[in-house]
């Protein structure tokens, strides 16, 4: 596809895709930069991703050897409570994750060499999602969104990531 060899290309080509889920598991937004291979249907893909996040989050919290997360593996916890994972990496991609106390889950999939994206995820939440989706007078909460201002600002912002 469009992938150029070496590292000389704009950093936006390092972005693969982004998911945003609300607390009910509804995929509010799915953004693709580069994803030539996708084996599942859009819906199955999103549900699988949400399920993975949900389990992984519980798992990492329950495995915490020193933190104060209470309860048994699989026991319910409050949104955003306890420790959580923030990324995992394979040999071909990296998945970065953040969850807000309101249960919004943001997932960024990038190439595997991407640096720590915790600040970037926070920026996307605070300065792009909250500004251009949450404050959009025509946005109905908890529904999937297509906001031109969100897309523009997101695309511009990810170009700055490396």
């Amino acid at each position: 596809m469009l992938q150029a060899p070496g590292g000389a290309v704009g950093s936006s080509t390092r972005m693969r895709c982004m998911y945003m889920f609300n607390r009910q598991g509804v995929c509010l937004h799915y953004h693709v930069w580069l994803r030539p291979v996708s084996v599942l249907s859009r819906q199955e893909d999103q549900k699988l991703m949400f399920g993975l996040l949900f389990s992984l989050k519980l798992f990492t919290a329950k495995m915490d050897p020193v933190g104060g997360s209470k309860g048994q593996l699989g026991a319910a916890q409050l949104q955003g409570q306890g420790c959580s994972f923030h990324s995992f990496q394979t040999n071909t991609y990296k998945l970065s994750f953040m969850e807000t106390p309101t249960g919004l889950k943001i997932v960024l999939v990038t190439d595997s060499k991407m640096s720590d994206l915790r600040e970037a995820l926070k920026y996307i939440y605070s300065n792009i999602y909250v500004e251009y989706v949450v404050k959009n007078p025509l946005y109905t909460p908890d529904t999937p969104f297509k906001c031109e201002l969100f897309n523009q600002n997101l695309d511009n912002y990810v170009k700055t990531l490396s």
Binding site: E131, K135, N136, P137, L138, T140, K146, C147, E148
Partner: protein, 195 residues
């Protein structure tokens, strides 16, 4: 600490209380959320975009009438503008500065019609966070601001039709909003008499 150092406000009738200097502020977010909810609520009461704009305009008119009273009292010692250009410049500068913290980007006379004037703003406060979906066509939340302008003009004795429009600007990703003012015939006749 409750109530320390504060007068018993409720004992004073609202008209006897000193009128604020208009320097108090709330967060832009508070206004944005309130305005969003006005839009969301209005959408449940209408069948089409024209009605939605009409409802926002109505809400704006109520704000405009009150802003006129406040500003005439505070800034102009209860005097009102009597001339067309005077009232337009009052809206473009005094009103805009009060409501939006700045004068409007431009005030122009319509080139095709004698009775038309336009106030334009590159990023109108109510459009700052908005993305209008394609199926809502040319819907413009600025109809609320158009209503404010109409309320002021009507209240000051310059009846007019006022509407809000997106106008694309070369080299800019976002269109600006133009508030189009079309004065009633009687206003222009009066102006002509005053010379």
């Amino acid at each position: 600490m409750i109530g320390v150092g504060r007068g018993p406000k409720q004992l004073l009738n609202v008209v006897d209380r000193p009128l604020g200097k208009g320097k108090n502020e709330v967060s832009l977010s508070a206004f944005a959320f309130l305005f969003s909810e006005l839009v969301q609520y209005s959408q449940t009461r209408v069948d089409n975009i024209a009605e939605l704009e009409r409802r926002l305009e109505d809400a704006g008119i109520g704000v405009g009438l009150r802003i006129l009273e406040l500003l005439c009292h505070r800034e102009k010692a209860n005097r009102r503008e009597t001339r067309l250009l005077g009232i337009l410049s009052f809206v473009h500068s005094t009103v805009w500065r009060c409501l939006f913290g700045k004068v409007a980007d431009s005030l122009e006379k319509g080139t095709e019609h004698e009775d038309e004037y336009m106030i334009s703003e590159r990023e109108l406060l109510v459009n700052r966070f908005i993305s209008v979906p394609k199926d809502m066509g040319a819907f413009n939340c600025g109809s609320f601001v158009a209503g404010i302008v109409k309320g002021i003009l009507d209240g000051a004795g310059f009846p007019a039709r006022v509407s809000a429009h997106f106008v694309s600007v070369e080299g800019q990703a976002r269109p600006r909003t133009t508030i189009l003012i079309k004065f009633a015939e009687e206003v222009l006749q009066r102006e002509a008499r005053l010379g």
